[in-house]
Symmetry: C2
Subunit: 348 residues, 2 copies
Amino acid sequence: MRATLMHRAGDVRIENVPDSVIKHPTDALVRVTASCICGSDLWPYASMSPDGGPARMGHEFIGVVEDTGREVTTVKRGDLVVAPFAVSDGTCGFCREGLHTSCAHAQAGFWGHDVPDEGGQAEAVRVPLADGTLVKLPVAADSALVPSLLTLSDVFGTGHHAAVAGGVNARTRVAVIGDGAVGLLAVLSAKRLGAEQIILMGRHKARTDLGREFGATDVVVTRGEEGITQIRELTGGHGTHVVLECVGTMPAYEQAFGAVRPGGTISRVGVPQYEAAPIGFASLFRHNIRLAGGPAPVRAYIEELMPDILNGTVEPGKVFDTTTDLDGVPDGYRHMADRTSLKVLIKP
Amino acid sequence: MRATLMHRAGDVRIENVPDSVIKHPTDALVRVTASCICGSDLWPYASMSPDGGPARMGHEFIGVVEDTGREVTTVKRGDLVVAPFAVSDGTCGFCREGLHTSCAHAQAGFWGHDVPDEGGQAEAVRVPLADGTLVKLPVAADSALVPSLLTLSDVFGTGHHAAVAGGVNARTRVAVIGDGAVGLLAVLSAKRLGAEQIILMGRHKARTDLGREFGATDVVVTRGEEGITQIRELTGGHGTHVVLECVGTMPAYEQAFGAVRPGGTISRVGVPQYEAAPIGFASLFRHNIRLAGGPAPVRAYIEELMPDILNGTVEPGKVFDTTTDLDGVPDGYRHMADRTSLKVLIKP
């Protein structure tokens, strides 16, 4: 079968790989019908050393179940399913608390890292712990809702997690840092949770326009001290109750603690490209700023978010501005890296 | 009048200073009847450079109102009052939200820093924003409850804040790092909020014994990796839901993120002696660890905590193991620094 492999920074290829097959009785084999490229795929695309690859890519997909191990009970051959970006058993203590990304099962973890021989940017995927991981979709594989339903695998659930972990509610003013797909869906999520003011920080007009459509009340195009000053001017001088940091770089984090209100929360969902960062008296401590967030347990949110997609209340699939087949994936990476594509949908 | 001045690290003196007097119509003048030395006073005692001093010391006191400015309405001459370690107006947006330590009033802030000419380790204090800051006590100045009521000015409220900011409740397992007065009162506070397991990390037996009396279910005397391993063994392998970090050093913070459970919270009330610290994928992000805490808005907690002291449910004043007059204050600093005193009560 054909799959996407990253050999090193800037070098993504479509190659023939051994067919994915059932290995464990809890596995399902899924024929991928829709997949995509993630903003987080751009980190290795920018920096992977040659000895880091070749790595199988892709952790967001929808597909049709082709086969199941003998212990799988919740999905069956022919079902259309969506897979979250983390594999989880759905039964351990962490899954029961809704923290599926910390599932204690030995086979749980992230595509690529913990399931190194599988990836969503491919013709098929072996899905471990299928009962815990996969969710059946009540539509056909060619439904017009597929792009929006595909965002349940990562970006919509991640934007929602940012807002939930940040404690967004109807009384909160929110700043969203980053106009990528996650940032825009953090805007949509904050709006969905009723935030009274949503300030989107981004400088790419087509994207911030979509952010306004998703619910942003203000857009700040400046960065650094100037951007922080603008946030303060828009919030009566004190900053926002919640900052959703959807980038992961140090400047984005600095922006976050500059823009947050005393007693407020910085919620991070952009994978941090740093380990140490300011959290002492001058940055977080003095004014009781809280830090929250992490990899979104998107599996926990699918049942809550899906109805809003099915009934048309939200259309998160609008973040896809490009569609390609597998052959177009290397170009898709290039276009997302140079920001000519916001997010690329793959139809293998 | 006589007051405590720190001239440099290790050099604390009792000296004559100009009498405190009313300066603003919102001030009160308080004759101090009980004060104390704080663990946080030990940071400058260990490190203050000669050009940092002389600094007036003390931010925890009980006293009798001697005079009030013409706008003060809630306390009057003869009242016994307790002062929190932060001055606040009680009326701004932050005070109304219970975050008095971020009061927006121009005269608000911390004794010593924002009110540089006054300190609690003295015969008298001018208290700015008296209506917002002071709380009347329903006992006499010689009441046996004074030591416990004095802890409302800082250490009890700070331990309580650690527990509240960490989200401690009846379902949480808690680790407390530090066997100083704040750590021990964080134990008491976690117990008061119903925590099912409270593991105190400390190695000073007299203190950890008091910790057990306050509600600690376990004591861990080891530190570093060994201490983290013990916490994990005591919690079924995953660590505690909440870690109350009551020290402020980098090793204490590292201990905290080693001991906290996925999805859990590190709540810091020890003043951080670092600015940058690990918060990336490997430390906080991977498992959605939350970071909370800061200077405790103890003013917000006095009305809630005082009844438990008055009715004898709790006796936080047990953290005082030494009592002295003003002349004994320099020795008090020495004994707290070398850990022969846990906390020193001052009767000026």
